[in-house]
C-alpha cells in the first residue's frame, strides 16, 4: 500500500457525506479514508448505492443539496505546489475553480450528457483550455488537435468542426477523455467510463486510458462495478459496501485472495468459467450469517491490506498469499 504522504496525490480522511430526506438522514458515505499514490490507478468498486460515486463527487465538491459533506478532510497535493484542502474552500474561492478541470477532472458513464449538442467539439475542448490557461484561441486549437490525435480521432483538423451527434459512442468517450486531459490534471476521476459501451469498444477505451496514463503520468480514480475492468486497469482497489470501505489493498491481494466476506461474495457472484450451468453463489449465500453490518474500523491484515473485520478474526487469518 501507499503510505508515503509526499508521494500521494489525493488523501481522503474520515469522509462523511449525508443526504437529508423526508424519511430521515441517509449516510451515503461513512468514514471513508484512502490515498492515491502519484501515478497510480485506484479503483473504487461496489454495487449501486454503495457510495462510490458520492465519494468521487465529494472530491470535485459537486455534492448538491440535500447532500452535504458532514465530516472529514479531502486534500489534493499538486506537484510542486501547496496542498489544497478541498472541503475547506468557500463556494466563491478561486481555488475551487482551479480544482475543477485543472487539478482534477472527471469523465462520466454517458459521454453524450457531458458534451453540449450545440457547440462543435473543437470549441468545447478549447473552452476547457481557455478557462484555465492564459492563451489565444489559435494556440489552444493547436493543443486540441494534438490531444484529439492522441486519443485516436482520425483527421482531427477536420473533425474539430463537427458536433457530438456526428460521432459514435466510443468516439464521444474519446472526445470527453481528450477534454478531461487537455489541461493535464493531477488526478482523473473516471466514473464508469465504459459501462455504456460495447465490449470491443470498451477494450479500446481501456487501452486508451492506460496508454495516456502511462504517457502523462496522471493518477486515476476509477469507479466501476466490473471486476474485470478493475483487474485490468487498477493498481489498488477499495471495495465499498453501504457507504464504507470494507477492504482495501493491491488488486492482486484483494481479487486473488479476498479477506472480507462481502468481497468474497462480490467476486463469487460473477458468472465464470467453472460454474457453468450450476447455481451461482449470491452475496447473501456467500456471506451467510457472518456479520458484515458492524462498521469495524479498517485494520491492517497480515499482508498489509486493510480489512474491516474484528481484530481477532484478522489475527486468525494468518498470512494470505499475495
Amino acid at each position: 500500500m501507499i503510505s508515503d504522504k509526499k508521494e500521494s496525490v489525493l488523501k481522503i480522511d474520515g469522509l462523511h457525506v449525508a443526504f437529508e430526506t423526508d424519511n430521515g438522514v441517509v449516510k451515503a458515505v461513512r468514514d471513508v479514508c484512502f490515498e492515491i499514490g502519484r501515478g497510480r490507478v485506484m479503483a473504487l468498486v461496489g454495487e449501486s448505492g454503495s457510495g462510490k460515486s458520492v465519494t468521487a463527487f465529494s472530491i470535485m465538491r459537486l455534492i448538491q443539496k440535500p447532500g452535504k459533506i458532514t465530516g472529514g478532510t479531502i486534500t489534493i497535493f499538486p506537484e510542486g505546489k501547496e496542498p489544497v484542502e478541498v472541503n475547506s474552500l468557500g463556494a466563491k474561492d478561486p481555488r475551487l475553480f482551479d480544482l475543477r478541470g485543472s487539478l482534477v477532472s472527471m469523465i462520466f458513464q454517458e459521454p453524450i450528457s457531458a458534451l453540449s449538442p450545440v457547440h462543435t467539439i473543437g470549441d468545447q475542448i478549447c473552452e476547457a483550455i481557455l478557462t484555465h490557461r492564459e492563451m489565444k484561441k489559435k494556440e489552444a486549437e493547436v493543443l486540441v488537435v494534438e490531444m484529439l490525435d492522441k486519443v485516436g480521432i482520425p483527421e482531427p483538423q477536420m473533425r474539430l468542426r463537427q458536433y457530438p451527434h456526428e460521432f459514435s459512442g466510443g468516439m464521444r468517450q474519446r472526445i470527453v477523455i481528450a477534454m478531461a486531459l487537455v489541461c493535464r490534471p493531477e488526478l482523473l476521476i473516471a466514473d464508469e467510463p465504459t459501462t455504456a459501451l460495447d465490449v470491443t469498444i470498451q477494450a479500446q477505451i481501456l487501452k486508451l486510458i492506460k496508454d495516456l496514463q502511462d504517457e502523462m503520468g496522471t493518477s486515476v480514480l476509477f469507479i466501476t462495478h466490473d471486476m474485470g475492468v478493475v483487474a485490468q486497469m487498477a493498481d489498488d482497489v477499495a471495495v465499498m459496501y453501504k457507504g464504507r470501505i470494507v477492504e482495501m489493498g493491491t488488486v492482486r491481494q484483494v481479487l486473488k485472495a479476498p479477506c472480507h466476506p462481502y468481497t468474497k461474495g462480490l467476486l463469487a457472484a460473477i458468472p465464470g468459467v467453472g460454474s457453468a450451468q450450476e447455481r451461482l453463489p449470491t452475496i447473501s449465500s456467500v456471506v451467510g450469517d457472518t456479520d458484515i453490518e458492524t462498521p469495524y474500523p479498517l485494520r491492517p491484515g497480515p499482508d498489509g491490506r486493510l480489512v474491516s473485520l474484528p481484530p481477532d478474526e484478522i489475527a486468525e487469518m494468518g498470512m494470505v498469499e499475495s
Partner: protein, 309 residues
C-alpha cells in the same frame, strides 16, 4: 471498425440438440427460423420522402431452437440481435423469410404468415421478458394487476381464481402474496425483474424471449435472477432465446450460442465449443475483448483492439 468481418463466411459448429436442456422430444425443434430478413427503409429529405436506402438489421438469419434449450443471441449494439428476437415474436413484421413454430393449439405454423386473430392465440405460448425493469411495468397498475393482465386479456381466469394463480406465481418468483396490492415503484430493480418474469410465466408459455433480462442489475442481484430463471426453466420446461451482450452471463446459462454481426449470424454452436474454439474472426475478437477478473490474465489489447473509424 476498419476491419470488416462480414467478408468471412458464417461458421456453423456441429450442432446437436442440447443434451442437458432437453426433457422433451429432441428431434423436432420448437422453432425453425429460415432466411429471416428485416430491412428498415431510410427515407430522403425531400417532400415526397423517397426511399433512398435500407438498413439490413436482420439479414438472412437461419437457426433451429430445440425444446428445453436456452439459445444465447449475442452481438454488439446494432448487430440486430434484439430486432431478430422481435421479428420472431412478430412484435415487428419480417421483410422476408419464415419462422416455423410448433404450436400446441394450432400445430406447426409459420409465424410470419399469421393474421391478428391467430397471433393472439399464439401469444399465449410465447412471451417476452424485457431489459428495463422500470419502463416495462405500468406505474399505475398494482403488481397483482400487472401479472394477471395477460389472463384477463385472453379471458382465461378472473376474480378469485386469478388472484390465486397470481399469488402462487408471486411466491414462485420469490415475492410475497401481500406484494400483490403494491405498485411497481415500491420495488427494487431485482424485484421488478421478478415481477416481469411472473407476468411472462402466467400464460405457461413454451417459448420465452429474454431481451437483456439481467443486464440492468447489480452483480449480486443478477446472480439471484439468473438462478431464478434457471430454476423456472426446469420447472416450466421453458425454451428460451436469451438476448444479451454480457458474454459471461451467456456462457453460464446458455446451451447454445449464436453470434450476430451486422445483421448476419456469423457463428452458431454449443456454448463450450463457441467459447473454447471460436472459429469466426469476429467471435474471436469479441471473446478477446472481455476483461478477466483475474489480474494474472491480462487483456490482450492487440487481439481485442481494432482502430475505429
Amino acid at each position: 471498425m476498419s476491419e470488416d468481418f462480414s467478408k468471412y463466411p458464417a461458421f456453423i459448429h456441429d450442432s446437436f440438440p442440447a443434451e442437458e436442456g432437453g426433457q422433451d422430444d429432441l428431434s423436432k425443434p420448437l422453432l425453425r427460423v429460415r432466411d429471416l430478413r428485416k430491412f428498415f427503409p431510410v427515407y430522403g429529405q425531400g417532400v415526397v420522402r423517397k426511399k433512398i436506402n435500407e438498413v439490413r438489421a436482420v439479414d438472412d438469419v437461419s437457426f433451429d431452437l430445440y425444446r428445453g434449450e436456452t439459445l444465447g443471441l449475442v452481438g454488439e449494439s446494432g448487430s440486430g440481435k434484439t430486432t431478430c428476437a422481435r421479428v420472431i415474436l412478430r412484435a415487428l413484421d419480417a421483410t422476408a423469410g419464415s419462422v416455423h413454430f410448433d404450436s400446441e393449439v394450432l400445430g406447426e405454423v409459420d409465424l410470419v404468415q399469421m393474421n391478428g386473430k391467430q397471433l393472439k392465440l399464439l401469444r399465449r405460448e410465447m412471451q417476452m421478458i424485457f431489459q428495463d425493469p422500470f419502463s416495462s411495468l405500468n406505474p399505475r397498475m398494482t403488481v397483482g394487476d400487472i401479472i394477471g393482465e395477460p389472463m384477463l386479456i385472453h379471458r382465461l381466469a378472473s376474480g378469485k381464481a386469478l388472484e390465486k394463480i397470481v399469488t402462487e406465481l408471486l411466491e414462485k418468483v420469490g415475492l410475497k402474496s401481500e406484494h400483490r396490492e403494491r405498485y411497481p415503484h415500491a420495488f427494487s430493480g431485482g424485484q421488478r425483474q421478478r415481477i416481469g418474469i411472473a407476468r411472462a410465466l402466467i400464460m405457461n408459455p413454451s417459448l420465452i424471449v429474454a431481451d437483456e433480462a439481467v443486464s440492468a442489475l447489480d452483480v449480486s442481484v443478477q446472480a439471484q435472477v439468473i438462478n431464478l430463471l434457471q430454476d423456472l426453466q426446469e420447472e416450466f420446461h421453458l425454451t428460451t432465446i436469451f438476448v444479451a451482450h454480457d458474454l459471461s452471463v451467456v456462457r453460464h446459462i446458455c446451451n447454445r450460442v449464436a453470434v450476430m454481426y451486422q445483421g448476419k449470424l456469423v457463428e452458431i454452436g454449443p456454448t463450450e465449443s463457441i467459447f473454447e474454439k471460436p472459429q469466426h474472426p469476429y467471435t474471436r475478437r469479441l471473446l478477446a475483448s472481455i476483461p478477466s477478473p483475474d489480474p494474472d490474465v491480462k487483456l490482450n489489447f492487440s487481439e481485442a483492439v481494432v482502430e475505429s473509424v
